[in-house]
């Protein structure tokens, strides 16, 4: 199970709303694990289109630029925020919204559901909307320019494939994780180490696949001869990717962010990552680190646009591989990434733990 903490901000918002109207919506674009908004589709089913992965938004040919040492140039600060949900809304078979009007309506509806400025829906809903839109990334209210109805492009239904039955051992781990999550949701965690990896500030958006979230959706790509380096804004870390064909680290040297090797296929940067630690939460959505594979592909399709495509495979978790495409947009030259340290000032952990102990003393939290 994944520890996509910020996606769960939206899940949390969604958790409250059980009324079937457009009250709140989780940031479905941010979450591979959240369910997308229920939607009744206009009944004109279309044949699923092929993945529009490498199509330039404007359709115009763009001449790729290269670094002085001959690699495709991806350098810069890029933003991946979008409102397009990871999974196509239930009941919808439209993969791309053809006409401008339906695209606009889709976007406006998502933006309304995601808006943090709304105060309606009662306090249970309202408390999870903190803080206001001006703390959020405004780009996350826009659908992708290619108007897809889901970030997932394969399978054709735009949804994460079903899971396979889990081994008893993994079921046990999931049950423990769910129990810890329940305690967290109630504000009554037992111990710091049962909190999620993001809340503990161990990994956040920096763990692949890179997914949009409510803010700090920025990645800086650096290149030097023989290397591509991706530095996500949250948390701080630099994914230093050798491009020289050297082998992966030995099988027993595992890392929280795995070990990545890259190569070029034409103008596409292809990344293979292995050597993930076996801790729960390291592999996406609680996939099995021993059998989990993630391949990422970055193709710059315009001066200000990269297509980020990832394919996840884990036969021990999902019935088939699945692929999503998320466009990255270059930020203004005057904009930049800012430091995001986390563990250093992580007051939340102490607030949660001391709050739980106080409430236990007051008789709360009997489970």
């Amino acid at each position: 199970m994944s520890d996509r903490w910020l996606t769960s901000m939206f899940i949390a918002a969604a958790m409250i709303a059980v009324v079937p109207s457009a009250l709140t919506n989780a940031q479905t674009g941010a979450s591979g694990s959240s369910k997308p908004p229920e939607a009744a589709q206009a009944q004109t089913p279309k044949a699923p289109a092929k993945a529009p992965a490498a199509k330039a938004a404007t359709g115009k040919a763009w001449t790729p630029i290269k670094t002085p040492w001959g690699d495709p140039d991806l350098q810069g600060v890029w933003n991946d925020a979008t409102s397009t949900p990871m999974q196509r809304p239930n009941g919808s078979t439209t993969d791309v919204l053809d006409d401008a009007e339906s695209a606009t309506q889709f976007e406006e509806k998502l933006a309304y559901d995601l808006s943090r400025d709304r105060r309606d829906g009662g306090p249970e809903v309202d408390v999870n909307r903190a803080y206001n839109e001006h703390w959020m990334d405004a780009r996350r209210l826009k659908i992708t320019s290619d108007r897809r109805t889901s970030l997932i492009v394969d399978p054709a239904d735009g949804r994460i494939p079903p899971t396979v039955p889990l081994t008893p051992e993994r079921q046990k781990i999931r049950a423990e994780r769910a129990a810890a999550a329940d305690r967290f949701n109630a504000g009554m965690p037992d111990v710091a180490t049962e909190l999620s990896l993001p809340v503990r500030c161990i990994i956040r958006t920096d763990s692949p696949p890179y997914l949009p979230t409510i803010y700090n959706n920025n990645f800086q790509i650096f290149q030097s001869p023989g290397y591509v380096v991706i530095a996500p804004e949250m948390i701080h870390s630099a994914r230093i990717i050798p491009m020289d064909g050297r082998p992966h680290l030995g099988k027993t040297l595992l890392q929280w962010l795995g070990d990545t090797r890259g190569h070029w296929e034409g103008t596409t940067l292809v990344l293979e990552t292995t050597n993930f630690r076996t801790d729960d939460g390291v592999a996406y959505q609680g996939a099995n680190p021993a059998t989990y594979k993630i391949t990422e592909r970055f193709t710059r399709v315009a001066a200000d646009s990269i297509n980020y495509e990832f394919t996840i495979t884990d036969p021990a978790t999902w019935t088939k591989p699945w692929t999503a495409v998320i466009p990255w947009t270059k930020v203004d030259p005057g904009e930049q990434m800012y430091e995001y340290m986390c563990h250093e000032d992580n007051f939340d952990i102490v607030h949660l733990l001391t709050g739980a102990r106080t409430r236990e003393k007051n008789g709360e939290g009997k489970r």
Partner: protein
Amino acid sequence: MRSRFGRVMILLGAAAVISVFWLTVLPTAGQQAPPARQSAPFPPYKAPRLNGHPDLNGLWQAFVTANIDLQDHEAQSGPHPEVLGAYGGWPAGQSIVEGGEIPYKPEALAKKRQNLLNRTKVDVSNDKTWHDLGDPEFKCYMPGLPRATYMPFPFQIVQGTSPYILMAYEFATATRTIRMDWKGEAPTDTWMGWSRGRWEGETLVVDVTGQREESWFDRAGDYHSDALHVVERFTPASPYHMIYEATIEDPKVFTRPWKISFPLYRRMERNVQALEYKCVPWTEELLYGKFKKPS
């Protein structure tokens, strides 16, 4: 003459001749002024170019022990030898401070001594005093600059053709980005500061402002205020060495600016790479253990 006296004299004379012979042949090393190379340890070096500038790319590491103590320090047991034995020991090292000593204001020295006494104490029960105790490194917090440079871990310099140079440190995956030829000031204080760089011939000069006042320079309690201003110089000295210099200025704590300097070495192992040193999980019991649910 066959007297004993005569034979002794002949031997002494021969010894004298042999001595004079050897003394004239040997180099007169001990008899000159110190050789000129002591003041210029490296011949001038011009690094290969990348985009017109010295190419600093690579995996670099310092081998001084300044992270323990910037100044002279003896070998010591480190904390809790009754638990760690010789594993916990720290080596001796010579000062990397020019002139040997850090020029603290007299009243500021008291805080350094207090830091030293409290370096392995923590108390995060109150947000307002969260950072009052303990060496940030002990808590797996960010080292700031210049400390990140002399931590006993490698760091990668990534220099391309964008207006930014990245330095990525193995310790706690700390990173900092150097904005080249950037005028804007730090909008707020950060743990790794606000780095602005420019080229001066063969040297990358980096101006670092806006550092969080809570970071320390070493485990000996050497510290600074929010007025800290660091100017670093990275000068390649050979294909395998880079000279690092840093001038530290903080009028609230020191009587004058002071300077440190040491070489950085290029890591040469085949397929060497920076690995992960994510120490946060090792500090959770230390920091948060007392707030857990009693069993």
